[in-house]
Subunit: 551 residues, 2 copies
C-alpha cells in the first residue's frame, strides 16, 4: 500500500516569524521548529505572538519529536509555551541550539519536561516512528543551523530551515552543498525552502565581508568602539572580537541576552576569546576609551536594551562621547526603523559617529538571495515545491524561481498557515484546512487577550475615552447631575466638558420627562447624544462609556 | 553701522518634516517654507503635525513674506494654518508651487487671505524690506523647486531648499550650478543646506534612470500596469505617461490628490499628455487590461489610498489579477514600511507581480547624496554653514562634509528648532532660544491635543481601561454594589471581573467600617486595591478610573 504524509504549516507562511510545520504519517507527528513572532504596532500592548497550537492540543497522541533547525527566536521561541500545552516526547537540536534552548527551558522551569536529543549532521538517520530523519549543515546568521531531511511514507521531504550559501562562513561550517546534491540524487519528493530573500536578486554577501569591514573601520579609531548586533549572531561577535584582539582592545559584553549567549557559546566552544581579553562592565572605568570594544544588544532600538540606555545616558557602566564610534551591525526588522533611527540620532547628539547598514558594509543577511535559491533548487531538483518562511510576496517570488528552475506549475504548492498538504507518490496537493492563527502573550496571560480587546485598545488609542456617570431614580425618579471623566481627548477645564455635561443633563431630563426608566435605554441615549456633540465639535470619536446607576 | 540678521528655524531640524525658518532684520521678518509633518505611531490619533507658530504670533508686525521653495507638504502644508494665526503680507512661490497652494488655500477658504506673488528665477531680485531676494532653480522630485538667496543686513544667505544635482532632469530644468557658482563668487556668508541624504555616499541617480527602468519593464507586459507614486511627483508621472504613449496604452489617473495634481500640472504646462491618451476611471471597463496604464496614489500604503483599496478589492473602478504588474515607484517613508509591505503582499495574493524599490530600479531619491553636497559646498564656498532639513545624524553628517570642504569647525552651526542664530560680519553664532515645538491637528482641533492627552492614549492603548462605579452614602452611609466596565484587557464573563468586584466591595466595606467618607480617598483606595490585584493576576496595568457617587 503506497503511503501518504500530511504537511501542516502552523506558522511562518504569509509572515516573517513564528515558523512551525507539522508532519504527520501513520498517526505519528513530528514538528519542525516552534518559533514566535514579535508584535507589530497594531498589537497594542502585546508582548509576544505564538502560533495557535490547537491542532496539536487536539491530537490524541503525543508529538513524537520537535526538530529545531537553529536557535533563533522565530524558530525556537514558542517551545516553552508548546511544551506546556502539548505532550512532546523528544526535542532534537544541534549542540549550540540545545545550549540555547536549555537555558530558555530552565527559565520557564521546563528543563525536565521533555527529553532533549542532540542532532548530529554526521550521524546516521534517526528513526522516529514512521519518519527517518537526517540533519544537513547550512550556513546562517547563527552557528549550527541545519536543514532537515525526512524520509516519510508519502515521500522524501527536505526542509531547508533558514539558510544562505556562504562558502566562506566564519566557523568554516558552510552549507553542505555536496550532501544536498547527494540527497537530490537520491530524489526529493517535496522541498520546503526559506523564501525570505526570494525577491532580492543576486547573492547575499558572505559573513566574512562584515569582518573585512570591521578590519578597515576599527583599527584607525581612537575612541570607544561599540558594536551592536543580534545577541544570537555569534559569528558577528567573533569577528568583532578577532579585530579587538588584533588591535589590543579589551572586549566587554553588555546586555543580558548577549552576556548569556556569549557564555553559552564560549562554554560550548562556538566563541573563541582569550580570557585576558574579556573584561566586565564594572571594569570599564579602568581602561581608556581607545582600549575597549563593547559588544552590546540594542541593534533593533529596543527601548530597554543596552544601546538605547547608553544613547540616553541611562546605562550604569557605559557612556558615549565625541570621538567614539558605534557600529550597528544589523538591519532593522521592518517596523523597527524609527526606533533604530531614534537611537542613531541620540548617539550622534552625544558626539559619536554611527556606522549602520544604510551607509557602511557592516551587515549581511543570513538568508540567501534569488541566485542562492536557484542554486539550491538546482542541487535538489525536487519533484514538488512548497515555499515557506516569508510574507506572501516572498513565497510567490520563490514559486516563480521554482517554476523557472523547471518544476511544473502544478507541482508548486502556495500554502498558508493551517493548510493541509498531502504528499504521496502522485505529488503534493492542498486538501484542506485546520484551525490556525495567533495566540497573544500579554503580561502573564497566554491567549486571554483576543481581537476584541485589541480592537478596544485601538479605539481607545485613537481618540481616548469619555465616561459619563449619572444617578437616576431615588425618591422622585429624577436624574442627578452627571459626572464626566475624559482621558485622551479633552483637557480638564475645557469648555467642551461643560457643554457635554449640559448635553448629558438635557438627554436625561428629556427621557425622565417621557417616563423612560430603562437603564439600558438611558445609557444608549447618553452615548449617542454625547457622541454626536463631540464629533460635531472636534471631529473625533472617543470611546463613550455611560454608566447610569439607579439609587 | 554694520547690521545683523537673526535666523530662527521653527521646524525641520532634528527631524524630517515641517520645514520652516524665520529670517529677521531691522524688525522685519521673512519666512522660508511652512511645512507640516505626518504623525508617527506614537502620536496616537493625531492627523497632522505643525510647527509651533507662537514666536511669529507674538511678534508685533506682520511677516513681510513667506517664501516657498517647492510644493511638497513638508514645505507648504502648514501654510493655511499659519495664515489663520499670523498676519502675512505676501507669499512668494514659483508657478507650479503657486498652483498647488492656491488649490490648498481654496479648500481652506483662505484664497483671499494673502497676496500671492510669482517667484521667477530669471527676474531681478525682489526687495522685501531689508531683504533682497533671488530664486535659483534646483532639481528635486517635484518641478519648479528653487533655492533662495537672501541679501540681508547681516550678510548674504543661501538656503538650498530640497535639492539634488540631477544633470538630466526630466523637464530639462536642472540645478542651476552656473548661477550657484556665480553667487559663490559674490560671496555667501551663511549657507543653509538640505541634509537629508548627507550620510549616504556617492550621488543620487538621475530621475531619468526611473524612466529607463519604465522603458524596460513596461513594453513586454501584457496585463494591466499600475504605477503608484507620490501625487506630487510630476516627473515620475510624465515618464510613465511617455512610455504608455509609446506602447499605445491609455492612461488613467486614480486617487483624489493625484487627479488634482495632474490637472493643476497639465493646466500650467508641467505635464504633457495627449488628450486622447487620458481616460477616466469609469471608462476602464471598455479597454483590455493590456491596453491601460493606471497612475495611482498609495505608494506609502496609506489605508484609504487608491492602491490599498485596489489591493483589497475595494476600489469601484480598478481591480488587479494574475498577469498584472504593479510598480511602486517610491520608497517608504521611515515608519510606513509595514503598511507598504502589507499592500505588496495583498497585491501579490491577487496574482500581480509587484516591482518595488527593494528589488527593481523604479525609484530614485530627490535629495542629493554626500558627493552632491560636497559639490554644492565647493560651488558656494560659504563662510559659515548651518545644516538644515534632517534628523540630527544627517545634520551631523552634513557638518562633517562642510568641515572636510574647508569650513572651519567654529563656522559650522548645529542648531535645533527654536535656536536663535545671529549672523553678522564676524560670523554666525547660536545666541539664544525661542519657544518652538509641535502643534497637533486632530480632527477639527488645532493645538488642543497636548502631550498629556497623548500620554493617556498611550496608556489606554497598552492595557485598556477599567471603570469602577460605586455609590456611597444614602440613608445608612453604606456602599452599594460596585459596577465594573473593562475595555481592552479582560473579556466579559472572565472570572477576574468577579474577583475585582469582590475586591472593590471589600475595599469599600473596610473604609466604611473605618468611617472614611471622603470621596477622593475612597477612589484612591479603589484605584490602588484593584491595580494591585490586576497586576498580580495578569502582569498588566490598565488605566483604572474609579467613580464614587454620593447618593
Amino acid at each position: 500500500m503506497p503511503g501518504s504524509t500530511r504537511i501542516i504549516p502552523l506558522g511562518g507562511l504569509g509572515e516573517v516569524g513564528k515558523n512551525m510545520t507539522v508532519f504527520e504519517a501513520d498517526g505519528e507527528a513530528v514538528v519542525v521548529d516552534a518559533g514566535l513572532a514579535f508584535p507589530r504596532d497594531e498589537h497594542l500592548g502585546v508582548d509576544l505572538i505564538l502560533p495557535d497550537f490547537s491542532y496539536l492540543v487536539d491530537r490524541d497522541r503525543p508529538v513524537r519529536a520537535v526538530l529545531l533547525t537553529h536557535g533563533h527566536e522565530d524558530h525556537v521561541g514558542a517551545l516553552p509555551y508548546l511544551l506546556r500545552e502539548v505532550r512532546v516526547q523528544e526535542v532534537w537540536a544541534t549542540r549550540l541550539t540545545l545550549g540555547l534552548i536549555k537555558s530558555k527551558l530552565d527559565e520557564h522551569g521546563l528543563l525536565r519536561a521533555v527529553e532533549l536529543r542532540e542532532a548530529d549532521p554526521d550521524a546516521p538517520p534517526a528513526e522516529l516512528g514512521p519518519f527517518s530523519v537526517e540533519f544537513v549543515r547550512v550556513a546562517h546568521s547563527i552557528p549550527d543551523a541545519v536543514a532537515i531531511v525526512l524520509d516519510t511514507p508519502g515521500g522524501r521531504i527536505l526542509h531547508t530551515g533558514d539558510y544562505k550559501l556562504d562558502h566562506t562562513p566564519v566557523d568554516g561550517l558552510r552549507t553542505d552543498v555536496g550532501r544536498l546534491a547527494e540527497i537530490g540524487n537520491r530524489g526529493v519528493d517535496l522541498f520546503l525552502g526559506d523564501s525570505t530573500n526570494a525577491e532580492r536578486p543576486g547573492v547575499t554577501g558572505s559573513e566574512r565581508l562584515v569582518g573585512e569591514a570591521f578590519r578597515q573601520l576599527i583599527p584607525p579609531r581612537t575612541g570607544r568602539i561599540l558594536v551592536a548586533s543580534f545577541a544570537s549572531n555569534v559569528h558577528r561577535m567573533q569577528q568583532a572580537i578577532d579585530v579587538a584582539v588584533e588591535v589590543g582592545r579589551k572586549v566587554c559584553v553588555v546586555g543580558r541576552s548577549m552576556r548569556k549567549n556569549v557564555n553559552i557559546a564560549r562554554n560550548l566552544g562556538y566563541i573563541d576569546v582569550p580570557e585576558e581579553t574579556l573584561i566586565r562592565p564594572n571594569e570599564l572605568d579602568e581602561y581608556a576609551p581607545g582600549d575597549v570594544l563593547i559588544l552590546c544588544t540594542g541593534s533593533q532600538g529596543e527601548p530597554l536594551s543596552a544601546l538605547v540606555r547608553i544613547a540616553y545616558g541611562d546605562h550604569p557602566a557605559v557612556s558615549v562621547e565625541a570621538g567614539d564610534t558605534v557600529i550597528i551591525s544589523a538591519k532593522p526588522v521592518p517596523g523597527n526603523e524609527l526606533r533604530v533611527h531614534d537611537a542613531i540620532n541620540q548617539l550622534a547628539r552625544n558626539g559619536a559617529e554611527v556606522l549602520h547598514q544604510e551607509i557602511a558594509p557592516v551587515h549581511v543577511s543570513g538568508h540567501g538571495h534569488a541566485e542562492e535559491l536557484r542554486t539550491m533548487l538546482g542541487l535538489v531538483r525536487p519533484k514538488s515545491v512548497m515555499p515557506v518562511h516569508g510574507e506572501f510576496r516572498m513565497l510567490a517570488a520563490h514559486a516563480r524561481l521554482a517554476e523557472e528552475s523547471g518544476v511544473p506549475a502544478n507541482r508548486i504548492v502556495l500554502a498558508e498557515n493551517g493548510s493541509v498538504v498531502e504528499l504521496d507518490e502522485s505529488g503534493a496537493y492542498l486538501t484542506g484546512h485546520v484551525e490556525s492563527g495567533v495566540t497573544f502573550v500579554d503580561g502573564l496571560g497566554v491567549g486571554d487577550v483576543q481581537d476584541v480587546a485589541l480592537r478596544d485598545r485601538r479605539h481607545l488609542s485613537e481618540d481616548g475615552v469619555l465616561i459619563v456617570v449619572a444617578t437616576f431614580g431615588g425618591g422622585n425618579g429624577s436624574a442627578g447631575r452627571p459626572e464626566l471623566i475624559a482621558r485622551g481627548f479633552a483637557e480638564p477645564g475645557e469648555p467642551l466638558l461643560d457643554e457635554m455635561r449640559e448635553e448629558a443633563e438635557r438627554v436625561l431630563d428629556d427621557l425622565v420627562r417621557d417616563h423612560v426608566t430603562e437603564i439600558k435605554l438611558l445609557q444608549e441615549h447618553l452615548h449617542d447624544g454625547l457622541g454626536q456633540l463631540i464629533y460635531d465639535r472636534t471631529g473625533r470619536r472617543p470611546m463613550i462609556l455611560p454608566v447610569v446607576v439607579e439609587v
